[in-house]
């Protein structure tokens, strides 16, 4: 069922498919609904930054895992992905995970593998969305390189990227405030911050940022601010298709662009001012000298 919905598999996957089929024969027939909500596979773990091969979830990230053995981590990824379908109803909770495990033919006790506050489910979701975003940006870049699409100006690129990423949250928007507050718990901050910073870095990278000075930091800090504030606005937005949110986003990005110009202007003015003062100092000192000589 799932395989039919994905693009054609590579030969490596053949043994994985066979194993899957034998798994299916052992377990109850899987519910298909939980699987085709997401086109992308269970997302990458936070630690490893390699782009997730969309088809490799059953053979491990570099195809080297033995194909008849699914690691605990892979199993957890599958359960969490399956659990997402139940989040709108149950929230980011052990109940959702239990329901997800059920759809995979596992016992609800499988939910015991995870932390009870739902952190892992949320982090899994965030990581999955980030991977999807990277893939989107990568594809767009390829299209531009092949001449199939126009290169967007920076402000539009940033707007579109942030919008695309935030839209992934829409199906879960009711429960998203809960997720954000859990992500802000001290024990989750390292992970959630790391996911956030790598996502922002990704966006800037594809936007063509090549700065290697302090701008590297200011740009990322500014975009992080834009992303977070827009996310907050979105959670309180009840306009059709969140159009208020996208307008807010547009304004924030425009402000950021203007800030760059202002900084340059301030610097030029500063330099001109210094030169003026130096000139005045030299003139005064010359005047003093010539008066002293008279």
């Amino acid at each position: 069922v799932r395989w039919q919905l994905s693009p054609p598999q590579r030969p490596l996957q053949a043994s994985a498919v066979l194993r899957r089929v034998s798994d299916e024969q052992k377990k109850e027939p899987l519910a298909s609904s939980s699987q085709h909500q997401f086109d992308s596979q269970p997302a990458d773990h936070q630690h490893d930054q390699e782009p997730q091969d969309p088809h490799s979830s059953y053979t491990g990230q570099d195809g080297q895992e033995s194909e008849d053995y699914e690691s605990e981590e892979q199993l957890q990824q599958r359960i969490l992905t399956a659990a997402l379908e139940f989040v709108p109803e149950h929230g980011w909770t052990a109940e959702a995970i239990a329901e997800g495990a059920k759809t995979l033919g596992l016992s609800v006790a499988a939910a015991g593998m995870f932390q009870s506050d739902g952190s892992q489910l949320i982090l899994h979701f965030v990581s999955q969305c980030n991977t999807k975003l990277s893939e989107l940006l990568e594809q767009e870049q390829k299209r531009v390189q092949l001449g199939e699409a126009e290169k967007k100006p920076t402000d539009q690129f940033l707007r579109d990227a942030v919008e695309a990423r935030l839209r992934m949250v829409i199906p879960y928007i009711e429960k998203w405030p809960q997720a954000v507050s859990i992500l802000l718990l001290p024990h989750n901050i390292p992970s959630s911050l790391s996911l956030l910073t790598s996502m922002i870095d990704d966006i800037w990278h594809y936007a063509g940022d090549q700065s290697t000075d302090i701008n590297w930091y200011t740009r990322r800090a500014v975009l992080t601010g834009i992303y977070n504030t827009t996310e907050l606005v979105m959670m309180q937005d009840s306009s059709p298709d969140f159009e208020d949110t996208w307008r807010f986003l547009e304004n924030r990005v425009a402000d950021a662009m203007k800030m760059g110009d202002t900084a340059n202007q301030v610097q030029s003015t500063g330099e001109a001012l210094v030169q003026g003062l130096m000139g005045a100092a030299v003139t005064v000192s010359n005047a003093e000298t010539s008066r002293a000589e008279r």
């Binding site: 930054q49 782009p51 390829k142 870095d201 990704d202 594809y206 090549q210």
Partner: protein, 168 residues
Amino acid sequence: SPAAGAPLRLCSAGLAPRGVNKAVVGRILRVDHAGEFGANRIYAGQMAVLGRSSVGPVIQQMWNQEKDHLKKFNELMVAYRVRPTILLPFWNVAGFVLGAGSALLGKKGAMACTVAVEESISDHYNSQIRTLVEEDPEKYKELLQIIKQFRDDEREHHDTGIEHDAEA
């Protein structure tokens, strides 16, 4: 190899070639980039004071090479997607002050500064070369080549400094 003028991009998704130890390479490039940036500022400081003196051309030439080094590291930073050090504004000022300060002590002072700095830079590059060779000389071939070349350049600067220090 990349087309002329096109930025060096090693791989899509902005990641270095698979298998490269991102942490090791990141640390190495960040430090080297900061170092070359600092060296640039040191020579700039020296030129500000001694630019019109007899050692001016010598310092200028060494400075030009450092500019090339910095340019190379800028490219590598982008290709490997390495975060630059946040201390750059500090190195900006500190480097210039060190260069100008040592130059105010005279040509000998400037050359002594150059000798000391280049000595420690080449030691530093040497230990990086050792690290990379221990990791995997094949995987890091390109990087090793660059660092070796730069290490040789820095040794040359060191020797130039000795030469002029001895003469002055």
